[in-house]
Amino acid sequence: MESSFSAYLAAGIGAALTVIGAGFGIGKLASAAMEASSRQPEALGDIRTSMIIAAALIEGVSLFALVICILLALK
């Protein structure tokens, strides 16, 4: 079994797990933001800003894992 086979496999599985984690996290975030903005429509601007910041931070973490997957796939 050549090692690049397992490297590609690991990269694929890693990317899939990363996307699951990021999707779950950002989905939870978005649902909380929707609920909060429906309870208090005046705070919509602040909520939207905080939501975008938090989404970018969560996505940043998931992109750490993506970079590792790219390194694996390029071996």
């Binding site: 086979f5 940043g60 992109l63």
Partner: protein
Amino acid sequence: MIDTTDLGKDTLHSSESSSGSWIIDHIVDSNVLDFEPLGVIHLPSFDINLFGITFHFAITKHVVFLWIAALIVAILMIFTARSYKKSLVPKGVANLVEMIIEFIKYEIVTPTIGEKYVKTFLPFLGTIFFFILTCNLLGLLPYGATATSNISVTGSLALLSFIMTQFAGIKKNGVVGYFKGLIPHGVPVFLLPIMFVVEVLGLFTKPFALMIRLFANMTAGHVVILALIGLIFILKTPFISPVSILFALFIYLLELLVALIQAYIFTMLSSLFIGMAIHQEH
């Protein structure tokens, strides 16, 4: 056990080159500016021998695009500043730039750094925002390259942000006071060494995260677009092109949004770290 010796020889790999390497070739730095099919421009590179070490300097594609972005930002700002001599009410481009700078000043810098230090840090943060935005958007033009998809570029930007943070914190609190203020009070004495190590490490992970976030966001978008369009060539059929181009267009629009958001996030996080270094009460 699965016999994997023939796995590399299926239809996708029947051509000579491996089907993945052209994506990488379009993303990474290169020594030529290519305007296919019109031709290529070869960029100079030279070696300097100093103190026995050979430094290899090369002007690469990303360096050229960094210069272009710097030129665009400089010309835009000089033009805007000059238009204020005629009238205090801005018109045209100056209007747009003033709107963006006001957004940065009142929504990003003032809530995190506070009114007193806005004048000190607004030039740095505004420049970072416009520079990253320009670099990101230049990569979306035809024949353009994203300078921020190079980890050295994002590393330098994160390093600048790190230096600015430490400089701000040490200037306000003094060297000893700054490091003492890193540790929250109310911590039992036997935990102090490990808290100190953890906090110092935390000082370094934040710019590291800034670097990786910007780099990965910019690279990933371009890889997805190239992979979708490359499906047409890999599957060797023109019938997939409507689907492929439609998806690629959608991702392209998303890329536009991501370019804006990433510039905003970098600036906002830099300003947050500077604010945290200045006002050290947790």
